[in-house]
Amino acid sequence: MSTPILEVRNLKVQYATPAGPAQAVSDVSFDLAPGEFLAVVGESGCGKSTMLFSIAQLLNYPAETVSGSVKFDGIDLTSLSAEDLRQHRWRDISVVMQSAMNALNPTLSIAAQLADVCRAHTDWRDDKIDRRSAEVLEMVSIDVAHLKSFPFQLSGGMRQRAMIAMALLLEPKLIIMDEPTSALDVVAQRSLMRQVENLRQSLGFAVLFVTHDMSVVSHFSDRLAVMYAGEIVELGATREVFDHSRHPYSNGLMDAFPSIVGDKKELTGIAGNPPSLVNPPGGCLFAPRCHFATDECREYRPELISVEGHAVRCHLVNSRVRS
């Protein structure tokens, strides 16, 4: 693998709560290669969005990145000042938020919002800005006439695509996406994923994509990380994780959604709720909900151990590997 564009090491994020600090993200490490598409899936509250925000250095009180490093292209983002960070935002890393309706300014036209990004981060002249704005809209198959439109005049899918156009303006090397499809209908969802995939192949940016619905990314991401209670519990090639998931939690997730093909079978989902992050259980965080939990699981926290590029955080799986 070539030098990673993003190296996340032992990232730890806490939220200050009246009951004490809550471990929203604990000990998350991964690499992202240039042009790679990594999807992160997990239930709400598993820390996946917090992790993204921490990587993009967008966290505010009460959330705080306690330790760990985020290296982008060799530079540690956690150590940069606000002004230095600004040099990288939009140019190198851009973020597409979940709700395009709230992320776009309702009182400005699309053209004005695209120009705003260019003015803040480049010294381009107006004609160049206009040209580039038209270019990025075309890339996401929005008619150039919509430059003059206001967000309310676009449909949900188009708004989300306009956000992606904005993210593409300055040709970043990494685009971070926080559930961009969750407010969309299935057909619009599929169009959007296609679009992201085509653009990634032609422009070569890397994608870090967070979602609670792993079926959305199943056909598009290169690798898949499953998060539970602030930890990555499984990480591997997407097809590999889908077809041969090893962690009991990932197995549960796979069984949680009905399919439109194959036999109809009874599905049960995963019983119980995620643990408290203020007073997490001592051993494996999934042990209280796990059918296979042993005394070892309740006692000791398992490590994320990788075998041939497929990493799993589970005593049972890892002891099977050892023997």
Binding site: S44, V186, V187, R194, M214, G252
Partner: protein, 322 residues
């Protein structure tokens, strides 16, 4: 199937949109007809703007219909649903955070439904009934749940409470408007199982409104596909999924995110289009502008429902020709 709980006949609901000079009529639901049998789950499937929620809201009596007839348990309904009908056909809403009063305990809200719709129960009877209601939707232990405030429940638990609330009036039909779409994927299945249990154990019928074909396949006996206010295909769930006839149903099938399905490369088109807003519509099939099979006839006249098999009907000229 002479035994029918709900019969909807040529139901239309229009909305006036625009200002004084640009006024138009939005056809949210246009001549929609279907039936629901006892202990049956019928899925009403469509994208946003297809009119599926409008139909539910008209049935629940939140809006009067523009035209058409609703027959519920053999009685033709008037313009406004009576309290009794609303009790018999309660609705579970999409948003579990906006549909429960946050300042009242769970028990209080349930007791109110019972007071209104079950006058034969005394205070002790209501208490017993409330506990049994929440336990029937899988909220355990019932007595303790009743003492909680809504903020102490998770999204999935709140939606279960929505179903308990609906059950309070011993309905024959529950209108479920995208009850799982705001929940996490991992929690959805539990709710879908609750819906199945209500059908199998309480013998309630459900009208399940959704845009998700795979969940419709999991719970529903029959499926009605809506596009831009009109029914385009109807049949048993297995039939529709195994052999979708209408080009729109096929589009929905092709775009359904399902990791167990190989990626269909014929859907390589990046912009799959969007359903139109149907303002002052002319004749013609509403799917024609997006349809790969569209012919001259599709643009000039409106297809009507044609019986394909005993249970399956479709409105499409191209299918008719074959």
């Amino acid at each position: 199937m002479s035994d029918v709980v709900l019969k909807v006949d040529k139901l239309s609901r229009y909305f006036r949109v625009g200002g004084f000079r640009s006024a138009g009529t939005l056809h949210a639901a246009d001549e929609v007809s279907f039936e629901v049998a006892p202990s049956e789950i019928v899925a009403l499937v469509g994208e946003s703007g297809s009119g599926k929620s409008t139909i539910a809201r008209v049935l629940a009596g939140l809006y009067p219909p523009t035209s058409g007839q609703i027959t519920f348990e053999g009685r033709v309904q008037g313009k406004r649903a009576s309290r009794q009908v609303r009790g018999q056909m309660p609705m579970v809403f999409q948003d579990p955070f906006g549909s429960i009063n946050p300042v009242l305990r769970v028990g209080h809200s349930l007791q109110r439904s019972l007071k209104l719709h079950r006058p034969e129960l005394d205070k002790a009877g209501r208490q017993v009934e409330a506990v049994s209601l929440v336990e029937r939707v899988g909220l355990l232990p019932g007595a303790e749940v009743l003492h909680r405030f809504p903020h102490e429940l998770s999204g999935g638990q709140r939606q279960r409470l929505g179903f308990a609330q609906a059950l309070a009036s011993r309905p024959s039909l529950i209108l479920a408007d995208e009850p799982v779409s705001m929940l996490d994927v991992s929690i959805r299945i539990g709710l879908l199982n609750v819906m199945r249990a209500l059908r199998d154990e309480e013998h309630v019928s459900l009208l399940y409104i959704t845009h998700d074909l795979s969940s419709a396949r999991y719970v529903a006996d029959r499926m009605i596909v809506l596009y831009a206010g009109r029914i385009v295909e109807e049949g048993t769930t297995d039939e529709v999924i195994a052999d979708p006839s209408h080009p729109y149903t096929r589009l929905l099938m092709a775009t359904a995110p399902d990791p167990r399905l190989p990626l269909a490369h014929d859907t390589d088109v990046v912009d799959l289009g969007e359903p139109p807003k149907v303002i002052n519509p002319g004749p013609g099939c509403r799917f024609a502008p997006r349809c790969p099979l569209a012919m001259e006839q599709c643009r000039s006249s409106t297809p009507t429902m044609v019986q394909l098999s005993l249970t399956k009907r479709v409105a499409c000229f191209a299918v008719e020709q074959r």
